[in-house]
């Protein structure tokens, strides 16, 4: 069990590509941190630097308060689960799990006990004599996790461990890794590009883009208080809608876009120092409702939209509408029939509006 701290960590590859830029991050003891971002955002590089598989160009990485920049991977007391499992194909499941322990000269009996315990937890006891190629993807994944837990490391690293599994198995393994975290109660760092995985697993989520850490927060805070347009759009599915428009003073303060003209309540209006400026309004699909749906004072006046595409998925319906440049989504209860081409009147939840600077993308209000 240990804390992990990154101070101004930068990675510049030989070809001058900057993979990670000035990353500062503190992962406390027993925290489950998830690094999330689109592919190429530097999340795996960051993880590999913590593991010691990648050199650090600038900055410092501390594990348990000690700088480990020049400590080889084997002396960092960490274990890593790889995306493609990397089980040694010529060894049995038992040998795979025991390999690291043998190298550490742990007595045979102890090795047997630890491997058996881990196999018990992961339900792979029956496969200990098999070679990896005789296992299914899910079983291999368990072995890879088992190989990590037998070592009792200070820190667990997971590099997109579920991305090769099918959807159903992924959900199942996600739950099991969560259970494992509760059971082992140790520091875990998990890399994924899947925001649902990030939201459901982490106690702390680190959102990255282009090698820069965008926001570090708890899952709900990320969802409710994104610092910028990227985080707002990345977290949540379907993604937040962004309406480009202007703020206009005409008696009250209005947000005016191609589709909407919404009067903003005083509580929001007072946050804007200048008016008549371009701005981007962010609204999550569940914060747009049809007029007539249970609504309080918090809703805007009705706005008419033209239904473009209807996606009924059983427990809810996704309605898509568009303006001249892009498509937007809203989430509807399942008990109503909508048809493409239909005009409906919608309201926006005024207490759940996000305003982003149209140039910097930072969240203003």
């Amino acid at each position: 069990m240990a804390s992990v701290e990154l101070i101004n960590v930068t990675k510049i590859y030989d070809n001058q590509v900057v993979a990670v830029k000035e990353a500062n991050l503190e992962i406390k003891d027993r925290e489950f941190a998830v690094l999330v971002g689109p592919s190429g955002c530097g999340k795996s590089t960051l993880l590999r630097m913590i593991a010691g598989l990648e050199e650090i160009s600038k900055g410092e990485i501390l594990i348990d308060g000690k700088v480990v920049n020049d400590v080889p991977p084997k002396n960092r007391d960490i274990a890593m689960v790889f995306q493609n499992y990397a089980l040694y194909p010529h060894m049995t499941v038992f040998e795979n799990m025991a390999f690291g322990l043998k190298l550490r000269r742990i007595p045979k009996e102890e090795i047997r006990k630890r491997v058996n315990d881990a196999a018990e937890i992961l339900h792979i006891k029956d496969y200990l004599d098999r070679k990896p190629k005789m296992l299914s993807g899910g079983q291999r994944q368990r072995v890879a996790v088992g190989r990590a837990i037998v070592r009792n490391p200070k820190v667990f690293l997971f590099d997109e461990p579920l991305s090769n599994l099918d959807a159903k198995l992924r959900v199942q393994m996600r739950i099991e890794i969560n259970r494992l975290y509760n059971r082992l109660n140790t520091t875990m760092i998990y890399v994924t590009h899947d925001q649902v995985e990030a939201m459901t697993m982490g106690t702390k989520i680190v959102v990255l883009k282009d090698g820069v850490i965008q926001q570090v927060d708890s899952p709900l805070n990320l969802y409710n208080a994104p610092v910028n347009r990227f985080v707002a759009g990345f977290i949540g599915s379907p993604a937040m809608n962004f309406f480009s428009g202007r703020l206009e003073r005409n008696g009250g303060l209005f947000f005016v876009s191609e589709l909407f003209r919404i009067e903003l309540p005083e509580s929001i209006a007072r946050k804007f120092s200048s008016e008549n400026r371009d701005i981007v309004l962010g609204v999550r699909p569940e914060n747009i409702a049809e007029v007539g749906a249970p609504a309080g004072d918090n809703f805007s006046a009705g706005q008419t939209i033209l239904v473009d595409v209807v996606e009924p998925i059983g427990n809810e319906i996704f309605l898509y509408f568009r303006d001249s440049s892009q498509s937007y989504c809203m989430r509807m209860p399942p008990d109503h029939v909508y048809k493409p081409g239909q005009n409906i009147s919608v309201v926006l939840n005024l207490s759940k509006l996000y305003f982003f600077d149209s140039e910097t993308g930072l969240c203003i209000a």
């Binding site: 593991a51 010691g52 598989l53 080889p72 991977p73 084997k74 960490i78 274990a79 890593m80 790889f82 493609n84 499992y85 990397a86 089980l87 040694y88 194909p89 010529h90 795979n96 390999f99 690291g100 190298l103 550490r104 070679k131 990896p132 190629k133 005789m134 296992l135 993807g137 291999r140 190989r147 070592r151 090769n164």
Partner: protein, 287 residues
């Protein structure tokens, strides 16, 4: 599946038949000299040159084999050759895999240039280095010992290094990384991860280097002077030169000896082919 689209069975068997016909006839072309050798080894000397040649001799002269093994100290030569070939295999496999591991797994300054240089040495004809090498080994006092035949194998061979490096490159680097995190040293990764996974390539190197050493005539001819240190190829040569009675080379006995020399080649080949036909199976990764 659309039934009507399937190839008619008659066509399939016809195509299969044709392929076999082609394969069998080509194999026969390649097998003819060997079959001739085996057949001649069971003929009398006259039978070898009889026209037309009888592929199956009227009387099988098994005593040719006994003669082949007694006219020269066959057992001694066999032992010498085995010792040399075995040492050459060990040396070649160890040195070439180690160098190939370095070229495939480590990033260091000038690596690719060094690799190119290593490959370039393949272009040096053996004749060019023959005399300097002889002088070198002579100064070391190694002439008429097995050392000049064995020691060079421990310094890697560019062709095998190239072959192995290409194979190692196809082994995912994640295994190395997983092992590094497991606490393995670079040498242990080579020994316990890379080598076992590279069995097919190593089998190829074993077969080639064995055949190279076993069938080598030129180097033993240069370096070995004593009768009791000679190899089988030198023995075959001396047999050819032996004139018995008729003043003519005893081809039938020579062929019998040749068959005997050939057998270990076949054994090694059949033992190893299982590995290099099977190829690598990277079951530890996904898919």
């Amino acid at each position: 599946m659309n039934r009507s689209r399937r190839t008619p069975p008659l066509f399939v068997s016809l195509r299969l038949g044709l392929s076999y016909l082609l394969l069998v006839s080509l194999s026969l072309v390649f097998l003819t000299p060997i079959l001739w050798m085996i057949s001649s080894s069971l003929h009398s000397l006259e039978g070898v040159f009889a026209v037309p040649f009888r592929w199956i001799p009227e009387k099988l002269h098994w005593e040719n084999y006994r003669d082949a093994m007694t006219l020269i100290p066959f057992g001694r030569y066999l032992l010498n050759t085995t010792v040399i070939a075995f040492a050459v295999i060990v040396g070649t496999v160890f040195s070439s895999t180690l160098v190939a591991y370095g070229f495939s797994r480590f990033r260091f300054w000038g690596r690719d240039k060094l690799f190119a240089l290593c490959i370039a040495t393949m272009m040096l004809p053996g004749q060019v280095t023959m005399i300097p090498l002889y002088v070198f080994f002579a100064r070391l006092g190694w002439v008429d010992t097995f050392l000049p035949l064995i020691v060079p194998a421990f310094f890697g061979s560019p062709f095998y290094i190239f072959l192995l490096r290409q194979f190692f490159l196809s082994i995912p680097y994640e295994y190395d990384e997983a092992a590094l995190l497991d606490g393995a040293s670079r040498f242990r990764i080579y020994w316990q991860i890379i080598l076992p996974l590279a069995r097919p390539a190593i089998a190829t190197v074993v077969v080639f280097s064995f055949m190279g050493a076993w069938n080598d005539f030129f180097n033993p001819l240069i370096y070995i002077n004593s009768f009791e240190k000679a190899t089988l190829t030198l023995g075959l040569n001396s047999l050819k030169a032996q004139i018995i009675g008729s003043g003519q080379t005893q081809w039938h006995i020579l062929m019998a000896a040749s068959v005997l020399v050939l057998i270990p080649n076949l054994i090694v080949f059949f033992l190893a082919q299982r590995h290099f036909i099977k190829g690598i199976n990277v079951g530890g990764l996904r898919g």
